[in-house]
């Protein structure tokens, strides 16, 4: 299988909370185009939104940009969310990574820190690159077992529809 991306999509937006939804919708549209299932698309939306929220919350003291890059492969999608801001302390962000500990007293529960945990749970592969700013690289593989597609990527009609 060739390792070259079939298509590449890139977008830059202000690193503000009101644009996280725009990134989410974009990724949803791209993933739908590629042929991901409803549940996989919802997972992708959440993972990407979490990565963007990290940029919005931590990357810049003042205004800055967040960048989205989607590489579409035959069998997977690779999404990069990056900033070129102050390299925030990612290790601090990774501390306490994990689900909520139900044995802890309620008063000690943390309100933040679930974002990276969710990204790790919802994507197949997650890498972090910190050369200039922070780039989080998230991969999700395409499962094509439920619906057969014809050469144009249009789902084949089911038996019920044929009748």
């Amino acid at each position: 299988m060739s390792d070259k991306a079939k298509d590449y999509i890139e977008m830059k937006l202000p690193a503000k909370a009101e644009y996280v939804g725009v990134v989410r919708l974009t990724v949803s549209g791209v993933a739908n185009r590629v042929g991901y299932s409803y549940d996989d698309i919802e997972d992708l939306k959440i993972a990407v939104a979490e990565a963007c929220t990290n940029v919005v919350d931590h990357a810049y003291k003042q205004n800055g940009l967040m960048a989205l890059g989607c590489s579409i492969y035959k069998d997977k999608i690779e999404i990069v969310v990056s900033d070129n801001g102050q390299s925030f302390n990612f290790d601090d962000l990774k501390k306490g990574l994990g689900p909520v500990d139900g044995t802890k007293p309620i008063g000690e529960l943390e309100e933040g820190g679930l974002g990276l945990f969710l990204i790790n749970s919802l994507m197949d592969k997650v890498e972090i690159n910190r050369e200039s700013g922070v780039a989080i690289v998230m991969t999700k593989f395409l499962q094509r077992d439920e619906v057969e597609q014809d050469a144009n990527g249009v789902p084949a009609p089911t038996n019920a529809q044929k009748q």
């Binding site: 939804g21 309620i106 309100e111 679930l114 945990f117």
Partner: protein
């Protein structure tokens, strides 16, 4: 892109109906509507999430904050009407272990 928030008081219970997508942008609206309810001593707060089709960690954080607040203010907090996607996030993060969650809507009972 705003949340649709409506409150209703009946039989000593405060029901908060939420609709829309709870994310980094809209979460503050939820916090402003929900936290004051959890601070009124002796109140039972019910949050109906049946109109919510998207939530991420920012939204989950608001509910953790609300749970802590209700715990220290002698109120109760219950979430109802979660769709399977929203419920899944509460399960993945382990929040369903610490929160009172009922998938059915109040009217369905």
């Amino acid at each position: 892109m705003n949340l649709d928030i409506r409150t209703e008081e009946k039989d000593h219970r405060n029901i908060l109906y939420v609709g829309g997508e709870i994310d980094a942008y809209t979460a503050s609206q939820l916090r402003e509507a929900l936290l004051p309810l959890t601070e009124k001593d002796g109140t039972n707060v019910i949050v109906d999430l049946s109109g919510v089709d998207y939530i991420d960690s920012t939204g989950l954080g608001i509910f953790i904050g609300a749970l802590k607040s209700s715990n220290s203010n002698n109120t109760t907090l219950k979430l109802i009407g979660l769709n399977s996607r929203v419920k899944r996030l509460f399960s993945i993060t382990g929040l369903d272990e610490v929160m009172d969650i009922d998938e059915e809507r109040e009217e369905a009972k």
